[in-house]
Symmetry: C2
Subunit: 208 residues, 2 copies
């Protein structure tokens, strides 16, 4: 399959949310206009996004809600459970461990790690915080699909190296540090201070 | 000033972090190559990013660390304190309220709001959680620059409407819902489940 632009993936993910709501409400079909209105985009954009993956709609009848949501789940790789570990049980790590949005989308938090003895052994929403020293042996045993990294910037790269060496192939990074991974590993970064800085830039430079 | 692409703003923000480290270590100049190595980019990209804002470097001597960091802070609007309120004191709101990275960059959390009586009156890192009913009167009095929204998706839009009506002009949204704001308001969204979904898409479709 052709690689899809990230902006398209974001819209598909949004469409899926509405389709699930529509499904829950008992609707069987939905028009591109209704999807567009919910997604803050245009009917033409919706049709373009969806036509990319085959034909789902019938002119005048709209799209089949269940067929379309199944297909988008497939495209996004959501037809399965993804096993996730979280490294770092500070404020952000703890918020991630308890974030209901992950579980709702098939992301299962297997375990949480920290290096701080005061945190090790405590439970976060039923998941016990484990000693970071156990990372390598746990990864070998649990084979997580994705690691979320929520540690201070200065210890992030060594931890990434340990994760990669242990066979982790996808990392979502919340540490405020630029990280290097080999080609075969997928890395995404979320930096909340950076998001605020972009907002600050936009506030200062807003053309009004 | 010409509008800068978001990718450039992100790189500038990253350069600033290294410049601050270099400054703390007592360095007075830095080469584009050193900045590039830290930022995971190329010298040519660094020179291009920086030339956009005037001339900071001397061939062979590198950039002045202090002049360059001052200028980037100016560009990003970080030469001042931004007053921030947080709406929603659940897991994410609490993590945000206690996130040190914000304070370090001049973002000052003035107050936190929630609608849950069990949360109201409790303190998050020294900031008392206030009743969401006080939003309008507090905004009139405190005049925050930025509101962080960390509430469930289904109550997000009504809260955005209240914020906008009260005069808030910049919102960083963590609620998993598409939100509408008028033209004069700047809205950015961070959706952690969406970030995981993009990662999941990349894992499924990785060309190996």
């Amino acid at each position: 399959m052709k690689h899809i632009a990230e902006s398209t993936v974001r819209r598909l993910s949004r469409y899926l949310r509405f389709l699930e709501d529509f499904e829950a409400q008992g609707h069987q079909t939905i028009s591109s206009g209704a999807l567009a209105a919910q997604g803050g985009t245009t009917s033409a954009q919706v049709r373009k996004d969806l036509s990319f993956f085959g034909s789902f709609g019938k002119r005048g009848l709209g799209y089949s809600v269940s067929a379309l949501s199944t297909r988008i789940r497939e495209i996004l790789g959501l037809g399965r459970t993804w096993n996730v570990i979280i490294v770092g049980a500070g404020k952000i790590g703890a918020a991630l461990a308890q974030y209901r949005g992950f579980r709702d989308r098939g992301f299962h938090v297997m375990s949480v790690y920290d290096a701080d003895p005061a945190r090790i052994g405590r439970a976060l929403d039923g998941v016990i915080i484990r000693d970071q020293k156990e990372l390598e042996s746990d990864i070998a045993r649990l084979k997580p699909d994705i690691a979320l990294l929520a540690v201070p910037g200065d210890v992030a790269q060594p931890l990434v190296d340990r994760l990669v060496k242990s066979g982790v192939r996808a990392i979502l990074n919340f540490a405020p540090a630029p990280l290097q991974v080999p080609e075969h590993v997928t890395l995404r970064s979320v930096n909340m201070a950076l998001e605020l800085e972009i907002l600050s830039y936009e506030l200062v430079n807003k053309r009004t």
